[in-house]
């Protein structure tokens, strides 16, 4: 039956210029956004390379001074690489957030976290900006990338190709003939929906293949993308079947499918945005701004005992390196206290983010479009979770190197090349990223598919009698 229906749908497609146009448009837009996505990943990689070059130049400059036995810069004599402060400045390596293989598919993501950051004890990863200067007028449009094409346009393709399935048969009186010929009530509508699903799935897989080929992604990245795309197309095929089974004519079909698309792809997500906005609306980031500044200033108002107690509490190993007199190490102790404040703000942000994430994740079940977007953004490593992981890794690296810098300063000796190299090596070059947890999303999508398929199977017994 499916082969017969596929033959019909392919003929319908070939003989309808409008459908061919719609199909070609989706493929063309998909192709363009794939190229754009790859360009974006190239730009990302270039930004990392440029950062690494800048870092290597600074390191080379410092190493040259060491090799020449001259620790001072001629035009700025106060720079002294034997001091921990200046070693920290010149050994400021960069931590980078390497793009995931499929980063290009979600290049229009609204998540605009930093992708590279200089690490020294003055760095504030919590307010670091992304590498892109964004035009808000473009960002507010919602973005068009492969994720958008797959999540919003592919369902529309199902709609465009299948708008008359069921409705036409019923309105034209063809349904009884079909039922008498096939012997069964619903097999023909299912077969037509399945055939349309196959055509759309082919389009989706072609786009996914283009994206994975352009990115040079391996099977471990490509297979989840294929699986997610196939199940998502399956969901819309099942929606097509539900609507096809109940619609009295193509107009009802159009309204039914249009409403389903609007409900799942516009209304539910916008309600989610609204709820999420309600959480974020009060937030003027006072923790990152005024409170952060206050905590930095607090370090200047604390007495020595308080300062050192805080530093030892955070880095117990520094207790053995306490400078004599204590007053000599107070500047760097203040740096330590500032980092303690930074870590506390990070924890606060993580907790707040957690609440926000829980809200977003609770919304996911309400719309397959949301789950699908969420899964693809994770797969692409462009989710807020990735940005958060990068910030955490950067704060961690800053805290670790600050311990070294404080220790070096408190040692009260002239530092050398070895100390410099130790500091250089102390920070990771690449931030570890969370493993893309798309399995749960896939499971939710499969549940949606089963529910809708079940609904479509339950409906016909009643509907066929109308």
């Amino acid at each position: 039956m499916i082969r017969i229906a596929l033959g019909l749908e392919l003929r319908n497609l070939a003989r309808s210029p409008l459908r061919v146009l719609v199909l070609a448009l989706v493929v063309a837009v998909g192709g363009v956004v794939t190229i754009q996505g790859q360009n974006d990943v190239d730009r990302w990689n270039r930004a990392i390379e440029e950062g690494v070059i800048a870092q290597n130049n600074a390191l080379a400059e410092a190493r040259a001074w060491f090799s020449e036995g001259e620790n001072r810069q001629q035009d700025r004599p106060w720079i002294d690489l034997r001091q921990a402060h200046w070693q920290d400045i010149f050994a400021a390596t960069r931590i980078v957030r390497a793009p995931e293989p499929l980063a290009g598919i979600a290049f229009a993501s609204a998540e605009a976290g930093a992708i590279t950051m200089r690490l020294n004890r003055f760095a504030d990863p919590l307010v670091a900006q992304g590498d892109k200067i964004e035009n808000p007028a473009l960002a507010a449009a919602g973005g068009l990338d492969l994720v958008t094409v797959l999540s919003l346009l592919i369902p529309l393709l199902v709609l465009a190709l299948g708008v008359e399935v069921g409705g036409y048969e019923r309105a034209s009186g063809l349904l009884p003939l079909v039922q008498v010929q096939t012997g069964r009530d619903r097999s023909w509508i299912w077969a037509r929906c399945f055939a349309i699903g196959l055509i759309v799935a082919t389009v989706a897989l072609v786009l996914c293949t283009l994206a994975t080929a352009a990115a040079g992604a391996g099977p471990q990245d490509a297979l989840p993308l294929y699986a997610l795309a196939l199940v998502y197309v399956g969901i819309w095929t099942a929606i097509l079947a539900v609507v096809g089974i109940v619609s009295r004519n193509p107009s009802h079909g159009a309204v039914g499918l249009g409403s389903a698309w609007i409900f799942l792809c516009v209304l539910v997500p916008s309600l989610g945005v609204e709820r999420s906005a309600a959480l974020a609306a009060d937030d003027f980031a006072l923790d990152l701004t005024i409170e952060a500044r206050d905590s930095r200033n607090d370090a200047y108002e604390m007495n020595e005992d308080e300062l050192y107690a805080l530093v030892y509490d955070r880095w117990p190993a520094l207790r053995d390196k306490e400078p004599r007199p204590r007053r000599a190490g107070i500047l760097h102790a203040r740096d330590g206290v500032r980092i303690v404040g930074l870590e506390s703000r990070l924890r606060q942000r993580v907790d707040q983010g957690q609440a926000h994430r829980q809200l977003v994740e609770s919304m996911l079940f309400a719309s397959p479009a949301l789950v699908f977007t969420h899964a693809l953004e994770r797969l692409a490593g462009r989710s807020p979770a990735s940005a958060q992981a990068f910030r955490e890794a950067a704060v961690d690296a800053v805290a670790n190197r600050t311990e070294l810098v404080i220790g070096a300063n408190w040692s009260q000796k002239a530092l050398g090349n070895d100390d410099f190299e130790t500091l250089v090596k102390s920070s990771p070059r690449v931030a570890p990223m969370p493993i893309a947890a798309w399995h749960k999303d896939l499971l939710v999508l499969v549940l949606w598919l089963l529910l809708l398929a079940g609904l479509a199977n339950l409906l016909p017994r009643r509907m066929s009698q109308s």
Binding site: L174, P176, Q179, V180, Q181, T182
Partner: protein
């Protein structure tokens, strides 16, 4: 053979069929007449298994339509009032498509032969259905029925909207189907064409079969008079003349 026994069809607040008994033997054409709302289409839908009766039994060649609708449908062919086929396909392609649905694969030659037998001109075979007249579409509908090699055919107002020539042509094809040994059940409004085409004519009013005539034994004028009498006087008792 098509056989309905004590069939009752009750819709919410409305009884569409009330203890209907009807039988069409192989090689016979049975014409089911009646005014709008009499229950003709309900009867057709019950025979094709599109509706389940509230009570009673329906058999096609001994197969219980209620218990085994799929098996019963395999023995049936159906021609509707307005055979709207898939407009993007040609007559041949539509015939091939519907035959494959019924499990029969026709090549172009076989399909052409079926369409010829249904009376469709050869020139039209390769044209899209969207360019066909209603009469031409009815012929493709008949060709689908022919190609299925069914044991019984059900026609729902097949001559509605056809010109006299097309209607006459259709009547000839229907007789040909009966001549091949098929049981034909035809719902119609057209008293005169029904008398001309059918072996037996039944009059359905408000879900009950009020009268049955052997077509050869009743004249047009008598049929019309009897029809009007029965329809305008629902309480009049049935006239068993067969």
């Amino acid at each position: 053979m098509i056989k309905l026994q004590d069939v009752v069809m009750q819709f919410p607040g409305h009884r569409a069929l009330d203890c209907l008994n009807l039988s069409v033997s192989a090689g016979h054409v049975y014409g089911l007449l009646g005014p709008n709302g009499a229950g003709k289409s309900t009867t057709i839908n019950l025979v094709t298994g599109l509706l389940r009766p509230t009570s009673g039994s329906i058999h096609v060649n001994g197969v219980d339509v209620v218990a085994e609708p799929e098996k019963a449908r395999n023995l049936l062919a159906y021609v509707s009032e307005s055979v709207a086929l898939y407009p993007h396909l040609t007559g041949t392609e539509n015939l091939q498509l519907f035959s494959r649905m019924a499990g029969r694969r026709l090549d172009v030659k076989e399909a052409g032969s079926c369409l010829d037998r249904a009376g469709l001109q050869e020139l039209a075979h390769a044209r899209r259905i969207s360019t066909y007249s209603k009469g031409m579409r009815q012929k493709v509908g008949l060709a689908i029925a022919l190609a299925k090699k069914a044991r019984a055919v059900v026609l729902d107002e097949p001559s509605s909207g056809l010109d006299p020539s097309a209607s006459h042509d259709l009547a000839i094809r229907v007789r040909e189907l009966a001549a091949q040994g098929l049981a034909v059940l035809m719902a119609s409004h057209d008293l005169f064409r029904a008398r001309e085409t059918c072996d037996t004519v039944g009059l359905l009013v408000h879900g009950s079969l009020r009268a049955e005539w052997a077509a050869s034994e009743v004249k047009d004028r008598d049929l019309e008079t009897a029809y009007l009498d029965i329809v305008t006087d629902h309480n009049k008792s049935p006239v068993p003349t067969k």
